[in-house]
């Protein structure tokens, strides 16, 4: 705790050593978040670069939450801004009655458990709109109302995009597990 406080003070004062320590401690976790949102590793690096510049030039952490939570929020906001600028949050209006059922997941033995990298890959493969809503709902714990406000879409559009994301992910996981089963 004391170490974190010194780290925060050091970053506020603009000390290079504190900045480097913060980078070393959190960059891996923050890069994974950027990758989850952008779906591309090079782009994720670019977004993380801009996020670190913003963090170090305007270190506005006030201690309302933990440093980790604050950093994750800054990086997620930077990722959403990037997607907005690139016009990658596209329109998707689907009638809720037309949405397909999400299939049950095929059970796999523990030794065939999906790796973190594999799961991140599945998210990266989602369309931009579905991926953004899925990230906000699952990892940022946002409600559909909050997502709708944040992305300037209708609430039912957020619901349908999440449903579509889950449908695609369930199919992808089942397909992957069936392939692994066949290889055995």
């Amino acid at each position: 705790m004391e170490k974190e406080r010194q780290l925060i003070e050091g970053c506020r004062e603009g000390k290079d050593s504190a900045r480097e320590e913060l980078y070393t401690t959190y960059s891996k976790q923050l890069l994974a978040i950027c990758y989850r949102y952008t779906g591309d590793l090079d782009t994720a690096h670019d977004v993380l670069h801009d996020a670190f510049i913003k963090i170090f030039t305007r270190f506005s952490f006030r201690g309302e939450s933990s440093l980790t939570t604050w950093l994750c929020k800054v990086v997620a906001a930077q990722s959403i801004d990037y997607l907005r600028q690139q016009k990658r949050i596209t329109r998707m209006v689907t009638n809720e009655d037309e949405l397909p059922d999400i299939p049950d997941l095929v059970q796999a033995p523990p030794e065939n458990a999906l790796t973190e990298r594999q799961l991140l890959q599945f998210i990266a493969e989602l369309p931009d709109g579905c991926r953004t809503v899925f990230n906000l709902f699952v990892f940022e714990h946002k409600s559909h109302k909050e997502i709708a406000e944040l992305l300037h879409i209708k609430e039912h559009s957020s619901t349908s995009q999440l449903h579509h994301a889950k449908f695609l992910l369930a199919n992808r996981i089942n397909e992957y597990r069936k392939n692994e089963e066949r290889k055995r």
Binding site: D16, R19, E20, Y23, T24, S27, K28, Q29, L31, A32, Y35, R36, L41, A44, H45, L48, H49, F52, I53, F56, T57, R58, I80, D81, R84, K87, I89, T90, R91, V93, D97, L99, P100, D101, I102, P103, D104, L105, L114, E116, R117, L119, L120, I123, F134, F137, V138, F139, A148, E149, L150, H152, I153, K154, S157, H163, K166, L169, A170, I173
Partner: protein, 362 residues
Amino acid sequence: MKKENDEITELFRTRLDNAEINPRDGFWEEVKRDIPLALNKHRRFFLYRTAAAASVFIVLGAASAAFLYFSPKEEIKQAFTKAVIKSKVNKTIVSNQIELKNQPIAEATSYSVLKSSKKNLMAVASKATKNHSNPNIKDTSNDNDSVTVTVHMSFRVVGNSGNQNQSTNNNGVWQAGNTSNVQYAENNSSDKPLSNNIETSKKDKTWAIKAALSASIPARGTYSSPLEASVTIEKQINKVLSLESGIQYSYLHSEGQTLNYIGIPVKMNVNLAKLQKVDLYASIGGITDKYISGSSKKNFSDESIQLTAIAGLGIRYHLNNKISLYAEPTFTHYFNNNSEFTSYRTERSNNLKLLCGLRMVY
């Protein structure tokens, strides 16, 4: 009925909440190198912003000072154009001749009145010499003594509405007065230019130009209070009603989205009360808005025309005869235009806004 699957949510949430990916080699060096550049840019931006704010403050201050400095002069000028024109005339009659020594106080135009009525004055003097009623007049026709008659005359030309009845009642006859209460002088053809000028100044100013800024109550969430700027022309139809229309720009900002609209407001204003310097009025009308730019997800044609109904009360404070300040608390209702996107207008379809501006009649 669709089937949800929370197993997916749970799987990803538990497995990826603390997922990590190693950054590429040399990534920290890239970030470290760019920090000083970004800091300089940030400082420059702060300086520009401060300079811009200071400039706006100076310009506003200078404009206010100029306005305060020039405004009273304008009033005085108008007062001279519209109100009483006086002149004082000394006349000397030598051997049945009248010499006019004109000492105009006000405008040169008054001189033309005097000049045109010279003949009448001569008649007055002639009458005076005949009846010898005035002790200041001595008749020199019968003897060689010189006689001097001094007549002080003042002309009153009425241009303001308060004395309009008097002018009308005189049926186009100018009122002339002197120390011996001589009160006639015909309004002959040479008076017409002056008469026209005065008639023009008597006409009510029925056109006005209005410039205003408005702000509304912010909606919940990320939507900021929309800002609107408008320039409108108002035409007074009669003493009670006036029509107003022009152009309006709307700026709707929310997190990550800025929408720009151009609209045409049309309003009817009803005068409720008129005090010495303050007018109260009500207004009702509508605005036709068209989205023009701003969103990364919308094109010009993506959103149909936005219709808005407005109704409000207004208060106007007259700084002088021409310029007044006004404020209009207004109720607005944004009609649903079936937009697929949320904005301030979809979140708060009924709202209150305060419109403040400057009005100039001409």
